[in-house]
């Protein structure tokens, strides 16, 4: 079975290590904050100028001056810090964030990512995504493995305009967890009940399948 949104978020959260500073993109990445293991503390970076983002506020705590990068009202955890956008992206571009998780339309086996623009459709902009993929050493892309019509989104070469070139080395899809290295996808884990054959069939870019591809454990 393909992973649910919640399972994707859970699997992302397994990558969190104690003491990690993490930037979570809008959507499934943000959900991962709900599954942080008990023995692990991570600090969430919000690129609009907050390190130590907390949960949504109680109704009476809502503060128009305290939002996240998705413009949602949030809170701060104890030990948080606030700073300008220039400082925030100095942090991101300088590689100080330990883990970045974000969504994509397509990735390819060269490590390219397309996530912000579909030609002919409305262009809303890249926000901080280009900075995040260029600045982080440790990125996980979360996405569906293929479109509803069965078209692979793990390509030999991205068809959409790129958000970043050669900067992605890990992809978590609803079917599999893959590394990208030397121009190839490498299958590391599969979703429970999903076969290696299914993944091969829905992966367009060159795919290395090790002898043992364990199922994800939740």
């Amino acid at each position: 079975m393909a992973l649910t949104r919640e399972q994707l978020a859970q699997r992302v959260a397994q990558e969190f290590q104690d003491g990690y500073y993490v930037n979570l993109g809008i959507g499934i990445p943000t959900l991962a904050a709900n599954y942080i293991p008990d023995d692990v503390q991570v600090m969430l970076q919000s690129e609009n100028g907050l390190l130590g983002m907390g949960p949504f506020p109680l109704d009476e705590e809502v503060d128009a001056d305290l939002i996240n990068a998705g413009k949602q009202t949030v809170t701060m955890i104890t030990g948080a810090s606030l700073f300008s956008s220039a400082e925030s992206f100095a942090m991101i571009r300088g590689g100080h964030v330990d883990l970045t998780v974000l969504g994509a339309f397509e990735v390819d086996c060269q490590g390219n990512i397309a996530s912000y623009m579909i030609p002919g459709k409305l262009i809303k902009g890249m926000g901080g995504a280009m900075d995040l993929v260029a600045g982080a050493d440790n990125i996980i892309v979360t996405m569906t493995h293929a479109s509803k019509s069965g078209q692979s989104k793990l390509l030999a070469e991205c068809t959409l305009p790129l958000t970043g070139k050669g900067c992605i080395d890990r992809v978590l899809t609803d079917l599999a967890f893959l590394d990208i290295a030397d121009g190839k996808f490498i299958l590391r884990e599969r979703a429970p009940g999903v076969t290696v054959e299914e993944i091969i069939g829905l992966t367009d870019g060159e795919l290395i399948v090790p002898d043992n591809v364990p199922e994800m454990v939740f």
Binding site: A64, I67, G128, M130
Partner: protein
């Protein structure tokens, strides 16, 4: 007061000298920490042909969105322009030019503009549409693109507290682009929630020194929330 007193008495005075076809650098992220009343004053003045650098372009009926109603903006330099039907319509019709700029690059371009750095290299945007037509260069085996500083005829920004000398403090994530925006305009106009006596701010806690500020005004703010998200107790 002294020659360092930056306080002006009206919004009209705050934006005096703004002319058609000028460039404005604006602070704010979404509707958070935007110079609401300075934007309304620009709308009142009816200034046309403006180029505005701001992370976002407001929403329909609020923030920079107000300036779209009378087609005052010629060109928008921004990282994200969703959630704005009027913006979309003017962009699609070609009335409004848009230069999409990655958020961190935009922040750094404003900082560079204020800091006398004419251009810098960044990996952000390399190999993407943002890098097209820009110089590419390797440093230590990694490719980067050259990005130029941005400066404006005016800066418009919003801070929390200021003293009359224009020393500024920002509050929470309403800081965002505001400090850099202030530094990048020839005439920097800042509106604040509170103006305190000189000496009331701890010199160690001032976020941006008054040297960058030309005009200061106290405003009242609506502070529209774009995405009110709450949890239950």
């Amino acid at each position: 007061m002294s020659g360092f007193d930056k306080v002006v008495s009206s919004y009209e005075e705050a934006m005096a000298g703004l002319e058609d076809n000028m460039t404005i650098i604006a602070g704010g992220f979404g509707l958070c920490g935007i110079p609401e009343n300075l934007i309304k004053e620009i709308k009142r003045r009816g200034t046309k042909g403006l180029t505005i650098a701001s992370n976002n372009a407001g929403i329909d009926g609020a923030g920079l969105g107000l300036l779209l109603e009378d087609k005052q903006i010629k060109k928008m330099i921004a990282s994200y322009v969703g959630e704005n039907a009027l913006f979309e319509a003017q962009m699609m019709s070609g009335e409004l030019e848009v230069e999409l700029t990655p958020q961190g690059t935009l922040a750094e371009k404003m900082r560079a503009g204020g800091a006398g750095i004419p251009a810098f290299y960044t990996a952000t945007g390399y190999g993407t549409p943002v890098g097209e037509g820009k110089e590419e260069r390797e440093f230590d085996g990694r490719p980067y693109i050259l990005e130029k500083a941005i400066r404006g005829d005016f800066s418009i920004a919003k801070a929390w507290k200021a003293d009359r000398f224009g020393n500024l403090m920002f509050r929470k994530t309403a800081r965002n682009f505001n400090p850099m925006a202030v530094t990048a305009g020839k005439i920097a106009v800042v509106e604040v929630e509170e103006i305190v006596a000189v000496g009331q701010l701890d010199p160690d806690e001032i976020h941006l020194p008054g040297i960058y500020v030309n005009r200061l005004i106290k405003g009242t703010f609506e502070k529209i929330i774009e995405q009110r998200t709450v949890r239950s107790a």
